[in-house]
Structures are given as C-alpha cells and as structure tokens.
C-alpha cells in the first residue's frame, strides 16, 4: 500500500504550488514541459561528464529560469496566464526536445546509465517509507505553512479574491505572483528529476502526461478556478483519494482507459457538485431566514390589530 503511493504522489508535488498559483487567480499549464526540460537538461549535463548531483542542480536552475520567464511574461504583458503558459508550454517542450536532439539522445530510449545513488533518490526508502512519499509530505508541510501561516499566503489569497483591493492595499502583486510561478516551475523541475530517477532514464517527454492528472488533483482538492479559494489540505486529500481510487480501479481489473474515463467523469461531476451544493446551501439558508422573518412579522402584526 505504501509502496504504491510512489506511482502517484509526484503529481501532488506539483499540485501544491499549482494550487498556490490558482489561488492568486492565475494558472500554469506549462509545468509538464518544465518537468521535461529539467529532466533532459539534468541528463544531458550528466552525459557531458558532470557529477550527477551537480547535473541535478543545473536541471533545477533551468526550471527556475523557466519559472522566471513565465512570471516575467505574465506580469509584464498583463495577458491571461493561460495563453502565456500555453506559449511557454510549447517553448519549453521544444527546448527539451532540442536539448535532447543536441545531446544526440534517441527520443525512445532517453539517457540511461544513471548512478545507483541517484536512482535510489526516488525508488529508495527511508525508515521503511518510500522516499517519494517522504518528499511529498515535506513539500505538503512547506506549502501548508506558506499558504496558511505566512503573510505571503494571505497576500496570495487577497490577490486572487480581489486584485484591485490588493493593489489599493499596497501589496506588491508582481512579486507575489512571480514567487508562485517560480515555485511551480521549481517543483515541476524537481518532479522531472524525481521521475528520471524513478524510471532511471532521462527523457525529453517525461512530463507530457502530467498536465491533466495534476489539474484534476487541484480542482478536486477544492481550489477555485477563479482565485482566492482553496487549501493545501484539500489538495493533499485529493492526491491520496484519487491516487488510491485509480489503484483500486486497476486492481478491479479495469484497463488504463476505463480508469481515464472514470477519472475524467469524476472531475466533471465534482466540479459541478461544488457549484450546485453551494447553490442549494444558499437557498436553504434564504428560505430559513424568510420563514423566520414571516413568523416575526406575524407576531408583531397582532398587537397592532
């Protein structure tokens, strides 16, 4: 049970900072490409003869730069984050392919022959708990504190809920937004490296399949697409619920595609239920107040008569 978590918790590692981005009212769809970029750059620099851990640092630096590019474009143009990150989705994926092409890497095999100490990063265990899970929990705690206990988290929430009020309150919106995108890119790059270690091969398309499952986690975790609402706890729970749900469906003998149909439908139903349940709660509340008001009116009307 614990071991099977390694097959999905890496999605949660990106979902946490992505939740932060969506809480500020933005969105980042380029993280899959950032993961690929950082993975292949790590692989290529390792192939060039660098120590693997230095190569990892180079890969993370590439992810950091990618995040800065995202943030700089979004803040400077004021265009919708969705289109900007759509552009960088292509840009970074192309750069990843380019890097692997320049490194002479075949796109099917990737770069293998990574040292065992690096492979142990994601496939190993600490005190009987898979490393991947440990890393995920550490990331979750960091982001829970960042969002729930720091002034940065409150600023992010205000910017998402009401950007104008945040601007009048004197918050440096650009800085808060930049941090959120850079954190997302860094975590995506880290996941790219983790996956490289897990599969013990660096590939330029390693992040291609990350987009949809990660967004699913964030949305099912209760983060609003319109900014201002959401919590890390919700994303944490969603990661395990969705992860174990999919594992369970696979155990029941469902194929990967049947699982995709179920997950896709679940995403839509949960998102719809969110609105409708809020709507009904509001209606019940309104009716209760109305009834109370009518009763009070009836009482106050009698003495007059």
């Amino acid at each position: 049970m614990l071991n099977s978590t390694s097959d999905f918790v890496y999605l949660g590692i990106i979902a946490m900072p992505l939740a932060l981005v969506m809480i500020t009212g933005g969105i980042d769809i380029s993280f899959g490409s950032v993961a690929s970029l950082s993975a292949i750059i790590t692989g290529v620099t390792f192939q060039a003869g660098l120590n693997i851990w230095l190569a990892v640092l180079v890969g993370l630096a590439a992810a950091f730069v990618a995040g800065l590019v995202n943030a700089a474009l979004i803040v400077s143009t004021g265009a919708q984050p969705m289109v900007i990150t759509l552009g960088t989705l292509f840009l970074f994926a192309g750069l990843a392919l380019g890097a692997s092409g320049l490194g002479g890497v075949s796109s099917f095999e990737g770069i293998s022959g990574l040292p065992p100490s690096f492979v142990a990063l994601a496939s190993g265990k600490t005190l009987g708990v898979p490393n991947m899970l440990v890393i995920f929990l550490v990331v979750a705690v960091v982001f829970a504190v960042l969002l729930g206990k720091s002034s940065y988290g409150r600023q992010a929430r205000l910017i998402g809920a009401n950007p104008k009020a945040a601007a009048y309150a004197g918050l440096s919106i650009g800085k808060v937004i930049t941090v959120s995108y850079v954190l997302t890119a860094l975590c995506a790059g880290f996941v790219g490296i983790l996956l490289t270690s897990y599969l013990s091969s660096a590939r330029a398309d390693i992040g291609d399949a990350l987009l949809m499952p990660t967004l699913t986690l964030v949305v099912i975790g209760g983060v609003s697409m319109y900014g201002g609402e959401g919590s890390i706890g919700g994303v944490l729970i969603a990661t395990f619920v969705i992860g174990f749900l999919q594992q369970g469906l696979r155990f029941m003998g469902m194929t990967e595609n049947q699982v995709a149909v179920v997950t896709g439908s679940a995403l839509v139903v949960v998102a719809s239920l969110r609105w409708w349940s809020g709507h009904f709660r509001e209606r019940v509340k309104n009716r209760r107040v109305q009834r109370a008001a009518l009763k009070a009116e009836g009482k106050s009307a009698q003495p007059v008569a």
């Binding site: 969105i27 143009t77 292509f90 840009l91 319109y226 995709a260 609105w275």
Partner: protein
C-alpha cells in the same frame, strides 16, 4: 499605420505574417514558394484550420475547449469503423458530424447547466473521450478505409485538393454565420459581456452550448479529413493538437477574454503555424525545434498584442485629458454667468 485599425484587423496582420514568412524563406530556399510545396502546406493545414476555427468559436464565448483532439479521435474511430464495415460514405459523414455535435453539446451542457468551468469540463472530457475511443477499438487502429473514400483525399479541382476547397467553404460558412446572422452576433455578445447579453434577451446558455457544438462538428469534420488523407486512424490521433489549435486561434487574433476575433484569423493562424514548421526543413533546422518555434511565435504575438493595447489605452487617456482641458474654459465661463 493606425494602431486601432491594426487591432481591429488582426487577421490581416496574421495573413501578412504568412506572406512575409514565405518571402523570407524563399530568399534562402526558392523551392519553398514553389506551388507544389505551397499546396502541400495547404493540404497539411486543413485539419488544424478546422480545429482552430472550432476552438475560436468557443473562445469567442469566453470559454475554452481543450477536448478537440479527443473528439477528433473518437469521431474518427466511429467513422472509420462505419466505412470499414461498408456503410455508405454519405451516411457516415452525417453520423460522424452528428456525433461530433453531440460530444460538443455534452461539453456545453456541463459548462452552462453543470456550472463547471470550461477548462475543467473539457479537461475531463479530454480524458473521457480518449478513453472511450480506446474502449471501442481495444487499442487497435482502424485500417482498411475503402479506396473510394480515400480517393476524396487525392481528388483536386483546378490543381487545388478538393478537401482544401471544402474546408475553405466550411470556414466561409462559419464566418458568415458569426458575422452576418443574429445568432452569430449573439456569440460575440455572450463572450463580451455574458450578463449584459442575458439582460437584453440573449439565451446565453443556448449560445454557449451552440459554440461547443460547433467545435465538436469542426473536430468531427477534421476527423473525416484525417480519414480521407491518411486512410487509417489510431487512438493516438490528434493527441496534443488541442493546444496547437488554441495557439493558432490566439495567433490569429482571437482574444481569450472573449468577444473578439474571427474564424478567418484562426485559420490564418493555423496556416502560419504549419508554414513556419514546414519552413524549418527548408532552412536546414532539425524538426525537433518545431515546438520551440510555435511557442516563440505565440509569445511574440501576445507580447506585441499587449504592447499595442497598452499604447492604445494610453492614447485614449491622453485624448480624454485633452478633451477635458479644452472644454474647461467654457465651463468656467458658464459658472461666472450663472453667478
């Protein structure tokens, strides 16, 4: 050139971009502008142009459709199975287009009555439709599309492939519908200001469902083109093409904030992307840089767009100041008279 007309005619900018690109590459490699190569580009653009047009209609209503690639695969597989099993081509075309419309309506219903944000809804169906197409074929690809149907892909009129003509006619049809009919204008109104449109009597929910249906039909039409051109279809068909379709629409001047853009612009954006990618091989650049080029084009377009918009806003504010200051002396005099 006037900045305002530049913004108003973004598709013209995109078209001139295509022309400039072709001329520039021609300077290096004259063979690029040979009619045969331009026809090849046109032939390979039609699928992307159809998908971009469909995405554009949805984007105009201030929604987004990322499920077009999966709709292409699902409708294409149903169409391929029908053709393979001897169903007449005309009936197949009708059924496939109707299926596309139905898939689009599901998206539209979720967005309007289900109150699911469009990106979440279509991400869900992106996975679900792709999964369904796998379930139908159990992972095998559909081969043996009859030669009679494949002949459509090779037929040409006046030297230009029949499919290109058909797609041009279809795009003109959608363009006229959006620009010249009441319902078409409602699409723009809904995207520009949904509440406002609702207040003046536009059935905004119906319009949004219609836009998603148009996108579904376009995806189904793209699947029919795919079957005619390729002659077989696998479950992976159209994987990841939704992002290219949205990129084409945005390059062609369709704003993600809704209410702005034309299908011609989106189609021109698709031509631009295809031409840019195919120019790589003529310039001796390895094909794996294609995505980088698309991303760079998109970002440059967005950056230029933002700059022009900012300059325009600036000028509007200046004009307003000037108007106030010119009117001020009169106002001061009027006050004196009143006293």
């Amino acid at each position: 050139m006037n900045l305002r007309s530049l913004l108003r005619h973004r598709e013209a900018v995109t078209v001139s971009g295509v022309v400039i690109l072709v001329l520039l590459v021609m300077l290096v490699q004259p063979a690029f502008a040979a009619p045969s190569n331009l026809l090849r580009i046109a032939n390979s653009t039609v699928i992307l142009a159809l998908l971009a047009a469909g995405s554009a209609v949805v984007i105009m209503t201030r929604n987004i459709d990322v499920s077009v690639g999966s709709m292409l695969a699902l409708t294409g597989i149903v169409g391929g199975l029908m053709l393979r099993d001897g169903v007449p081509a005309v009936l197949t075309v009708v059924v496939v287009l109707a299926l596309g419309a139905a898939l689009g309506v599901v998206n539209g219903l979720g967005v309007t009555y289900g109150h699911v944000p469009s990106i979440v809804m279509t991400l869900g169906t992106l996975g679900a439709y792709r999964g369904l197409s796998f379930l139908i074929t159990e992972g095998h690809s559909i081969e043996n599309v009859p030669a009679g149907y494949k002949a459509i892909g090779r037929a040409d009129i006046l030297g230009v492939p029949l499919l290109v003509w058909l797609v041009i006619v279809a795009l003109i049809g959608i363009g006229l519908f959006l620009g010249r009919t009441r319902l078409g204008r409602h699409v723009y109104a809904t995207g520009d200001n949904r509440d406002g449109a609702h207040l003046i009597g536009v059935r905004t929910n119906g319009v949004i469902i219609l836009a998603f249906a148009v996108s579904g039909v376009c995806a189904a039409a793209a699947a029919l083109v795919f079957l005619a051109q390729v002659g077989s279809i696998s479950n992976q068909a159209g994987q990841g093409i939704e992002m290219r379709a949205i990129a084409a629409a945005v390059i062609g001047g369709v704003a993600l904030s809704g209410g702005v853009g034309t299908v011609f612009g989106a189609a021109a954006g698709a031509v631009f992307i295809t031409a840019a990618v195919s120019s790589l091989s003529f310039l001796g650049i390895p094909g794996f840089w294609a995505d980088t080029v698309i991303g760079a084009i998109l970002l440059v377009a967005l950056f230029a767009d933002a700059r022009v918009r900012k300059a325009l806003d600036h000028r509007r504010v200046l004009d307003r100041y000037r108007a106030v200051h010119e009117a001020a002396p009169d106002a001061a005099e009027n006050r004196k008279v009143a006293q």
